[in-house]
């Protein structure tokens, strides 16, 4: 699996634990309280929304970056939280009933996944429940629902947009907290999550608001009718996700041409890219930058294809600096020809540049990605597939010797931390 879609299997993700526990407590409380108050208010409406949410859970999707999402289920849940009338009749369920209905629907919707032996992603479920809880509490728990009734049309629209925006913020915060395990800075993680959520999240939120508003006229028909556009959007996101994955698989496959041609060691580009992405994440790079870094690391040796004779063992670290630079720029030239990977080409081009040249006091315009590839590539050239700890330490020591001139000290530190943390590298 790619480092980008790696699940948080490492221990120590307390954020994830807290979120799951909070969601679990909320779920149990809501069901218990609703039951003790004599069951559901407007049971027909509750049942309709419940079925809808359960179906939405069945057709959940995976977004780029391995993020689980259930747009239909979340839109239905938000609509139920924001619902005021069905066919002009008031609906009077409270915030806890909203959470209870969503909880039960989620449990039903998860069943088919379990039967099909797909793991239900607990963190995503927990987050959805907490976001719905937040919206229900903010709208129904504070009397905002009563006050909105008197507003003119534009006012209602603005209140809804504000609620949708707030729910997005909460969702991003929760997602960031749940992912905080790779040693990356919190703000960088938050920024990544917010970017990943803003598009599909605002479509989900506004669809929820639209269903709630339209139910006044359309009744329950608002659910199936208004969800079709969201289905199309979900379809587009899925296709996007798929072509993203295909691109990555293709570049991975094609990056092996240097191995097949005898220019580099087996698995070299793949190892460099895995390690480079881990280091980049630790240094707080964004998802988009990480993807570029992954591509660049996979293709960093592609310039070697132009060499008449392979370098022994493919280790560029032993080649003369000028030769290294020539390979880098040949590779960059190839990548630049695609016309769509300019940042990747730049990373590859600068990978052989020393961090700081003599007499050059402040030479920092080398992209971070290039500095990472330079250090990681050297590390892998020295260690290779060898699992020996002594050899790893030796390689790190050698990088440290070149620190401040050849290699960026921050990158080498981060590399050492990453290697220390995970047994994979």
């Amino acid at each position: 699996m790619s480092p980008l879609v790696r699940r948080l299997d490492d221990a120590g993700s307390t954020g994830l634990l807290v979120i799951t526990a909070a969601a679990g407590m909320l779920a149990v409380t809501s069901v218990a309280v609703t039951a003790s108050h004599g069951g559901f208010v407007n049971p027909g409406t509750a049942l309709a929304f419940g079925c809808f949410i359960a179906l939405g859970e069945v057709v959940r999707i995976t977004l780029p970056g391995g993020r689980d999402a259930a747009p239909i289920a979340l839109a239905g849940s938000l609509a139920y939280a924001l619902l005021a009338h069905v066919n002009r009749d008031d609906v009077e369920h409270d915030a806890l009933q909203v959470v209870a209905v969503v909880t039960l629907a989620m449990l039903v919707g998860v069943l088919p996944h379990i039967v099909a032996r797909r793991a239900p992603s607990v963190d995503a479920l927990a987050r959805r429940l907490l976001v719905v809880g937040f919206v229900a509490a903010a709208f129904r728990g504070t009397g905002l629902d009563e006050r909105t009734q008197g507003l003119p049309g534009a006012g209602i629209a603005i209140v809804m947009i504000c609620i949708v925006a707030a729910s997005l913020g909460v969702d991003a915060l929760l997602a960031a907290a749940a992912r905080l395990a790779d040693g990356a800075p919190f703000l960088a993680v938050l920024r990544n999550e917010a970017r990943a959520l803003i598009g599909i999240g605002s479509a989900i939120g506004s669809t929820g608001a639209l269903i709630a508003l339209a139910a006044t006229i359309m009744g329950m028909w608002a659910l199936p009718v208004f969800v079709i556009p969201l289905l199309l959007t979900q379809f587009a996101f899925r296709r996007f996700s798929a072509i993203r994955a295909t691109s990555l698989q293709t570049i991975r496959a094609l990056s092996r041409v240097t191995e097949l041609g005898g220019y580099t060691e087996t698995g070299h580009s793949r190892r460099v890219s895995d390690l480079a992405v881990a280091v980049g994440r630790e240094l707080g790079m964004s998802d988009a930058e990480l993807l570029d870094l992954e591509y660049a690391a996979l293709m960093h040796d592609i310039g070697q294809l132009s060499l008449a004779e392979p370098i022994p063992g493919g280790a560029t670290v032993v080649a003369a600096p000028n030769e290294q630079r020539r390979i880098a720029s040949l590779g960059a030239e190839v990548i630049r020809q695609t016309g769509v990977l300019d940042d990747v080409a730049t990373m590859v081009e600068q990978q052989a540049e020393p961090y700081r040249r003599a007499h050059d006091t402040d030479h920092i315009d080398i992209p971070l990605g290039s500095r990472i590839i330079k250090a990681v590539n050297a590390y892998d050239d020295l260690v290779g597939e060898s699992p020996e700890v002594s050899r790893r330490l030796e390689a790190l020591e050698r990088l440290r010797l070149g620190m401040a001139y050849e290699y960026d000290p921050r990158v080498v530190d981060s590399l050492a931390k990453t290697i220390g943390r995970s047994a994979r590298f």
Partner: protein, 456 residues
């Protein structure tokens, strides 16, 4: 589009003439109570959404967003109002020649007229509490009418202009756009429901809430289309880079891919399979990287051992690309593109129908390109000459109806033999130039193949 032919101009004139009376009648009906305030607000929205919607290439992402407003108009301002609204299409912010603007506006007016007719015939009216689900039937009918009329008119002009049969163009436009049309049309219904919400009239502010998911939907499709284009370019470039190892096959993969698609279209292959085949064609020789350059560039006959390494290249290729999941059927194409119908091919010696369809297509395309390009040891054959040669080998080496498909496609669309190399500058660093008079063993040339086989 280039300048229109006189037939195309005639068609445009007919469409304009057919559409012209509608707005006049609609305006004349106006005193019967058009809701002017709503109509003006909708018009503004129409121009804004449609202007955003008409940019970019033709696919799901770019179905005119104006159709959203056009559909919302039916329950809000009635059929005549919808026709008047369609006229505002003429004010789109989109630099286009006057004749295109005139045609687009006319076809929008006709589509609005058709959908209005469908809507009212099936009992469509204004929205009120209790209108649903009854109103869904006329609305969906109107949506389909709009979609079909729009698609037919656009397909007709393209068909007349480019000389491609109407049926094919129409299928092409429809297959990509029906789902999108349906989805965007329902956004129109959302807009209408909220706009007209009796009791608490949300009015034009509804547009704010509806536009948000609409733009996200569009953005998502754009992202997808962009990523798809990026993927295409990346694969092509990387393949071209790999080919620099072999001077004599420059551009070969790209052209084999193009020829394979020509054959596939001619034999009526499904579009998603054609896509997969396109990549299979591009990647079919990737395994040659594993064949030592020494062997690839050897002058004279290959020894049996060397020939064996050449025979391995399809399997090497498969091994490389196996983890690219979506290629799926393409794997078989890459693996078996050197099989022959008579079972004398490699790597498995499959016979006739045992050979996967993709492989049979690629085999023809591969041989065709190999024969029509210049090799260091011989000039290129003419296209006609190569086709004759393919026909000669049909039945024994190639699937006859695929050879005929290629001949038919090349006759209609022509064939460009040499493409400009992507990496001219890499010549300086490429391996030693060919000695004069020396020759490579060309593993793709059908006549060469027999020679190689005899040697083993």
């Amino acid at each position: 589009m280039g300048p229109l032919s006189s037939r195309a101009r005639l068609f445009v004139s007919a469409v304009v003439l057919a559409a012209a009376p509608l707005p006049v009648i609609a305006a004349w009906q106006g005193h019967a109570g058009l809701r002017l305030r709503d109509l003006i607000a909708l018009s503004l929205l129409f121009v804004v959404t449609d202007s955003i919607g008409t940019r970019g290439s033709r696919d799901l992402a770019t179905i005119a967003l104006g159709s959203v407003t056009a559909m919302a108009a039916l329950p809000l301002v009635g059929g005549w109002g919808a026709i008047l609204l369609a006229c505002t299409c003429a004010f789109d912010y989109d630099p286009q020649p006057a004749i295109k603007r005139l045609f687009n506006t006319s076809q929008m007016v006709l589509a609005a007229g058709g959908s209005a007719l469908a809507y009212s015939l099936l009992g469509g009216r204004e929205i009120e509490v209790g209108s649903f689900p009854g109103l869904l039937v006329p609305f969906v009918a109107a949506l389909m009418a709009h979609c079909v009329i729009n698609g037919l008119l656009v397909a007709s002009i393209v068909s007349i202009h480019q000389g491609v049969p109407l049926r094919i163009v129409f299928q092409g436009t429809m297959s990509g756009s029906v789902a999108g049309y349906f989805g965007y049309g329902l956004f129109g219904l959302m807009l209408a429901v909220l706009w007209a919400k009796p009791g608490a009239d949300v009015g034009p502010a509804a547009a704010l809430l509806v536009l948000l998911p609409l733009f996200v939907a569009r953005w998502a499709y754009e992202q997808y289309a962009e990523q798809q284009r990026a993927y295409d370019r990346t694969v092509r470039t990387l393949i071209a880079a790999v080919e620099t190892k072999d001077l004599y096959t420059r551009g070969h993969s790209e052209r084999v891919s193009v020829a394979s698609v020509l054959i596939a279209r001619e034999i009526g292959m499904r579009e998603d399979r054609v896509d997969s085949l396109r990549y299979a064609g591009m990647l079919h020789d990737i395994g040659k990287l594993g064949v030592p350059t020494r062997v690839l560039q050897k002058t004279g006959r290959l020894s049996p051992e060397e020939f064996a390494t050449v025979q391995l290249h399809p399997m090497r290729g498969l091994e490389m690309v196996r983890e690219i999941e979506f290629l799926d059927e393409a794997f078989a194409g890459i693996m078996h593109h050197h099989e022959r119908l008579d079972g004398m091919g490699y790597p498995m010696g499959l016979q006739g129908d045992e050979i996967p369809e993709f492989a049979r297509v690629i085999a023809v395309a591969d041989a065709f390109d190999s024969m029509t390009t210049t090799r260091s040891y011989r000039g290129a054959r003419s296209v006609e000459n190569a086709l004759v040669e393919l026909r000669r080998c049909a039945g024994s080496q190639f699937e006859p109806h695929m050879v005929e498909a290629l001949i038919a496609a090349v006759e209609v669309q022509g064939w460009e033999t040499e493409t400009t190399p992507l990496f001219p500058t890499l010549d300086q660093v490429a391996p030693d130039p060919m000695p004069v008079g020396a020759r490579y063993y060309d593993h793709d040339d059908p006549t060469e193949y027999v020679a190689g086989r005899n040697a083993s």
